[in-house]
Structure formats: structure tokens, C-alpha cells
């Protein structure tokens, strides 16, 4: 049976992981390669590097980071943040990314999804959707959640699939950073509307939140950052918890 995936996200700025890191035994707390090695040893199923650097030197630093992380592990690695053109995506792939994640650029230039799917295959193209409830409609936001995208999240997910996206990375802006749980209503709505896998993100605070998103939320994978960085829970103990609750995971 297909396992539910647990994905760890590293927010990287200028080559260093930001957000708090509280692992014991790391020489350099913010070193992405060292953290990647740790997660890999703990049995994480996939890694996402999200580049939040704002400078123009970004791309070069990002490629170095991807190369360092990709050299450490043999699990899928996705890279997002600031990928706006085919050349940006090619630089990430050439450095060792297995998948690229498109967000703002996909909405402003949807043909980029198709271009990249034709060049690298749909499995290499994640479309990231940041959504926020407005009444009974989930609205898409871009530019790190600051700008309305004037699209319905479910409709946009379906269009992204039609254009060649291989997976949807769905983040609830309402839940992000709250630790009150994933938005299962939002996740189930998108997951039920597309046939490609949906990765839920935003709101993980307890082990039970993962049970909920895999059952009520119908998520195929769940992504978290700080819950792992702060060592509040390990990937291993999360997976053992899920298995005890009848959710298939890779242990």
C-alpha cells in the first residue's frame, strides 16, 4: 500500500536554514546539509528547500545549497522560492533538485508549468498554492501570501493539474505557524478535486494533527518545518504514532 509521506521543509536564506533549529549534536545549527542528513537518518520521506533569500546573488547561493544537500541524501528533493523562469528551474535541477516548486510564477505565467513538465516530466513539477478562506471560498494568495491571486484554490489546482503539474503543495495561510492543526476542509476540497497527490502544509502542532490531515483531510503527504526543527517531535516518533493509528508509513 502506498505510504503517506512526511516531508520536512528547510527555509533557507543566504545558504543557512532560518526558523529556529534546536537539534542536539549539530555542529552548525543552520547548516542545511547537516540538517538534511539528520532528517534522512530519521526517516523523512522527502525534503523541500524553500529559498527565502531576497538578494540577486540568491541563485548562486541556492545552487550551492542544493548541491550540498543533494550530496547528502538519496530521497526526493524539491526546491522552491523564487523560481520564476525556465532558467531558474534548470539551475535548480542541474544542482540536484528532483522537483521544482512554482508558486507566484505559475499563477502569473501558467504556461511555465507546461514548459517544465515537457522538459523534465510532470513528476518534477510541484505547484504550490497558498490559500486563505474568504467566506466559503478558498482564495489563492501569492508573493508569500501578501497579494490576492484572484483565483479560487480548488479551480486553480485543477488547472495546474491540466497544465502538467505532478503534485500540489497546498498551504493554509490561516493555519501557517498557528500549530492548531492542518486545514482539513481546505485540503480535502483540493484533494478531492484533482487526481494528482496533494501535500498539506500549515498548522502542524501535534501528532494527532497528522492523523487528521491524512484521514479527514485526504492528504497524500504532509509537510512541516518547525515541529521537526525544534525537535518537538522526531520524524521517527511521528511515523510510529501514525502506524499505530492505522496510517501506512515508511518505517
Amino acid at each position: 500500500m502506498l505510504s503517506k509521506r512526511i516531508i520536512a521543509c528547510l527555509d533557507v536564506r543566504d545558504g543557512q536554514v532560518v526558523k529556529g533549529i534546536n537539534f542536539e549534536g549539530l555542529r552548525t545549527a543552520g547548516d542545511p546539509a547537516e540538517l538534511a542528513r539528520r532528517y534522512n537518518a530519521e526517516g523523512v520521506d522527502e525534503l523541500v528547500i524553500l529559498d527565502i533569500t531576497a538578494t540577486l546573488e540568491r541563485r548562486r547561493a541556492l545552487a550551492d545549497t542544493i548541491r550540498a544537500v543533494a550530496g547528502e541524501l538519496f530521497i526526493p528533493l524539491a526546491v522552491g522560492g523564487g523560481i520564476r523562469t525556465e532558467a531558474d528551474a534548470a539551475a535548480a535541477v542541474d544542482a540536484g533538485a528532483d522537483k521544482v516548486s512554482l508558486n507566484t510564477a505559475a499563477l502569473s505565467n501558467p504556461s511555465l508549468i507546461t514548459t517544465l513538465a515537457e522538459r523534465y516530466g510532470s513528476q518534477a513539477v510541484l505547484v504550490a498554492i497558498d490559500a486563505k478562506w474568504e467566506g466559503n471560498r478558498a482564495a489563492v494568495y501569492v508573493r508569500s501570501g501578501s497579494t490576492p491571486g484572484h483565483r479560487d484554490a480548488v479551480e486553480w489546482a485543477k488547472e495546474a493539474e491540466d497544465r502538467g503539474a505532478g503534485e500540489i503543495l497546498l498551504t493554509s495561510i490561516d493555519r501557517d505557524g498557528t500549530k492548531i492543526g492542518f486545514d482539513c476542509t481546505l485540503t480535502a476540497a483540493v484533494s478531492g478535486a484533482v487526481s494528482i497527490p496533494v501535500i498539506a502544509s500549515g498548522g502542524a502542532g501535534t501528532l494527532e494533527h497528522f492523523d487528521e490531515v491524512f484521514t479527514a483531510g485526504r492528504a497524500d503527504a504532509a509537510l512541516a518545518a518547525s515541529i521537526f526543527h525544534y525537535a518537538e517531535t522526531s520524524v521517527q516518533s511521528l511515523k510510529q504514532h501514525l502506524r499505530q493509528h492505522g496510517i501506512p508509513v515508511r518505517l
Binding site: 530521497i75 535541477v93 540536484g96 497527490p197
Partner: protein, 200 residues
């Protein structure tokens, strides 16, 4: 040296990196004649069976000639499907025909297609390609089409219905999943393939 066939179906960085980690560097032949000295051949690939069109009769003949000499061949993902007679994904093309059967699309009743993620290997027979791999070990898949379960099937995986996830006949082996992205289990399978490769 081991030849990695690049027919422009996706990115080969991860495959190169995994073999490099096992001290088995790969070279990428530009033309079929470059295969003459290949100790073994790896056919990787993601995407559409139609992409194998780039491997015309000259490539097919050169690869079959090496296989006929007993040089090991490993097909990964689409490369494994290409070992069979063909695929309903591109009925106008023929595969290598080293293994019998046609590849087909997994039905999407009850399950999501593409099949993406970690799933388990249910061993069907004890062959060298799965040596030291525990029954039920999980590996990373991303695909929509599959190869049929036949006498050459070493392991099956179930997504809605069972399909061949590992095949082997003599020096010809194939894996539907991505060993280069499947952690220690994937590296062990690549190591098993390398043990089929004779000295230079």
C-alpha cells in the same frame, strides 16, 4: 565504465550521483558505437514511452548486441518498461523485447494516478537483484504506466492492483521505482546490479 543512456527523458543528475556514491562512475555515450566498451548499460528515464523514440534501431541493435555478450543491463522506471515488447502509452513504438509482455496504464479506480510516493516490494522470487533487500522494503515510485506480472517478475507492488516492480532475467534487470531516490534500499539494489558487472 558503465554506460548511462541519455535519451533526453528527464534529469540524470540523481542517477549519476547514486552510482558515483557506489564508486561506479557512468559515462554517457553520444552514439551507439560508443557502447562497444561498455561493461554494463543503464537505461534510466521518466516520462512518456514516446520519448524512447530517440533510441532508434541503431541504439537498439547496439544495446541488444552488448546484452547478447552477457553485459548487464538495468532499466529504471521508463527504462524498465522499455525492456518489454511495448507499451499502450505509445503503441506505434516497440520496446527492446527482452522481456515478454506489454506495458499498460494503471487503472485509477479507487487510487490516485500517477502513483507517487513510497510503496513496498512484495518478493515473488529470490534473485540476485534483490539480495539483502528485506521483504516489504519501501522504495520511491513516480509513474502511471506499469509492466505486467510475468515469470520474470521478482517483486510486485500494489497500487489498486499489483504490477511488476522488480524484474530480472539473467543479466537483464529492471526496477519500476527510482533506486537513486529510495534511500539505503535503492542503493543496495544498485549495488546488486553492480555485482553482476564483470571486470573492465
Amino acid at each position: 565504465m558503465i554506460a548511462l543512456i541519455d535519451y533526453k527523458a528527464g534529469n540524470l543528475t540523481s542517477v549519476r550521483k547514486a552510482f558515483a556514491a557506489l564508486d561506479a562512475p557512468l559515462f554517457t555515450p553520444d552514439r551507439p558505437g560508443d557502447l562497444a566498451d561498455a561493461q554494463a548499460i543503464v537505461v534510466p528515464g521518466v516520462g512518456h514511452f514516446g520519448a524512447t523514440k530517440a533510441l532508434g534501431p541503431d541504439w537498439i541493435d547496439a544495446i541488444l548486441e552488448r546484452v547478447g555478450e552477457g553485459r548487464p543491463l538495468l532499466g529504471i522506471c521508463l527504462g524498465m518498461q522499455w525492456l518489454f515488447e511495448g507499451s499502450e502509452e505509445a503503441p506505434e513504438l516497440r520496446g527492446l523485447g527482452l522481456l515478454g509482455g506489454q506495458c499498460y496504464r494503471l487503472p485509477s479506480t479507487d487510487v490516485k494516478i500517477p502513483h507517487v510516493g513510497w510503496n513496498s516490494l512484495d518478493m515473488q522470487s529470490d534473485r540476485s537483484i534483490v539480495e539483502h533487500v528485506a521483504p516489504g522494503a519501501q522504495v520511491y515510485f513516480t509513474h502511471s504506466f506499469v509492466a505486467p506480472v510475468t515469470g520474470d517478475t521478482v517483486a510486485v507492488t500494489t497500487h489498486g492492483q499489483p504490477f511488476a516492480s522488480v524484474v530480472q532475467r539473467g543479466y537483464v534487470a529492471g526496477v519500476q521505482f527510482h533506486p537513486e531516490k529510495s534511500g539505503d534500499v535503492g542503493l543496495q539494489i544498485l549495488r546488486n546490479f553492480l555485482s553482476l558487472v564483470g571486470p573492465a
